[in-house]
Symmetry: C2
Subunit: 257 residues, 2 copies
């Protein structure tokens, strides 16, 4: 099944995504069994981030080739960081490049695990069954700020820097897929989604030794490769079996009305 | 006015705190004018974190004496980091020290600004009027993990490491107060709450150059001094004009039922 959140009359409504339509739901399917309360055409749906997480977790270096490229040491244990909800934006909405963000402005294509239930002291099997489904994230990063600042507050968490979507797929074998990054239709990177140092379940087991995960929490799994994006571009992140997250890039002040 | 969230029959309910009672409210007072729907005795109220923020911002080094003690450079601009909602806990609930957390386990007494409205590209005056009120935070930190790990995920964000409360005070002149840290009734530190390198409005102006703040977001303002805490202790953070945030410390596995 595929679940999304769409904007209907300015309100966020959960939906179940079909071939031609999105069935609108009475509530969240994460831990619930909502009723169908209407339908919109899929072609004209306004996609929102498919979930607003209570906590937004993100893995840093987690693909061997990315770690080698960064000249970093391979992590010896799963450690997690954070991103911020203000930065979330949906499929097809603009990524806004701030005028003050000089230097490299990049896309990072990531698999995202969406947690379905409360989890603490999880076994690997409990971690596996706690994942409600999978979506796609683009960890947009302003590299000059990333190097200048003590935290990732503006380099990775400025408004619109975290496109996520278009939906959550609950059936895909996520670690057996291919992640592809395209700019204006040209492939910039392609890698095995599951070629990670630590997989999502390694993270969930380690994290829940010390913290409680809650329904709707998300865990972004890192990227093997990145590429530059510029205002005027359209950047697509595809994960086979899930879908395509596509966003135009605009310069601050040049956003569409 | 003082607003809190209390647990009533297992449900989180907003309340207005009086001398002897807490008037229960029909909804959030942040951006709303809820009705009074009941009353509980203040003496028996079960205090929850007074707000669950969409984004949980926290300032690092922000008091000159703390920066000097840490041997760090004085920041030349306001930069902000993050904490995580799983770690929040209310007034009088236990801080649980994990058995695996060796070395110094410390309390950090902090002023917390609670944002009342959507804010972007704020002037200093807009920043000032955007603050709904003020509460108290204890940025509990496991120092060995803080030094070992690449992020603050378990050193500062393990479950129960972020006591906040007991309530939000909407009238206090927060920067004119005194912050006092006590363990088992003994004063461990006392400092001028407002003796900051950058005050809350400096932060809000700088942050909203790049991001949107939303109602309920919190900004923890850092501490001038810290002190060790151990299982069996009770740690109080008092900010004059706001109140006292008090929490017992338990060793993992020895929590009360």
């Amino acid at each position: 099944m595929r679940y999304a959140r769409v904007s209907v009359g300015g309100r966020a409504v959960w939906g179940r995504v079909g071939e031609a339509t999105v069935e609108l739901l009475s509530g969240s399917p994460i831990g619930g069994e909502p009723d169908v309360i209407g339908t919109v055409e899929r072609a004209t749906a306004v996609w929102l981030p498919p979930v607003i997480p209570p906590v937004f977790y993100a893995v840093g270096l987690n693909y061997p080739r990315h770690i080698e490229h960064a000249g970093a040491a391979v992590p010896d244990r799963p450690e997690v960081g954070y991103r911020a909800n203000n930065a979330l934006t949906g499929h097809r909405t603009p990524i806004v490049k701030p005028r003050a963000a000089e230097g490299r402005f990049e896309a990072e294509p990531e698999l995202v695990a969406v947690i379905g239930r409360t989890l603490r002291h999880a076994t690997r099997e409990e971690a596996r069954t706690s994942v409600f489904g999978w979506t796609i994230g683009n960890d947009v990063s302003a590299r000059t700020w990333q190097h200048q600042d003590r935290t990732f507050w503006r380099s990775k968490n400025s408004d619109t820097f975290k496109p996520m979507g278009p939906w959550i797929d609950t059936d895909v074998d996520a670690l057996a897929q291919t992640t592809t990054l395209r700019v204006n239709g040209t492939v910039k990177a392609s890698f095995a989604t599951g070629d990670m140092v630590f997989d999502p379940y390694d993270y969930l087991v380690e994290m829940t030794r010390h913290l409680t995960l809650h329904p709707g929490d998300v865990l972004w799994m890192g990227a093997e490769a990145t590429c530059r994006i510029e205002p005027g571009d359209t950047v697509d992140v595809e994960i086979s079996g899930i879908g395509v997250l596509s966003n135009p890039v605009h310069l601050e002040g040049n956003e569409p009305a």
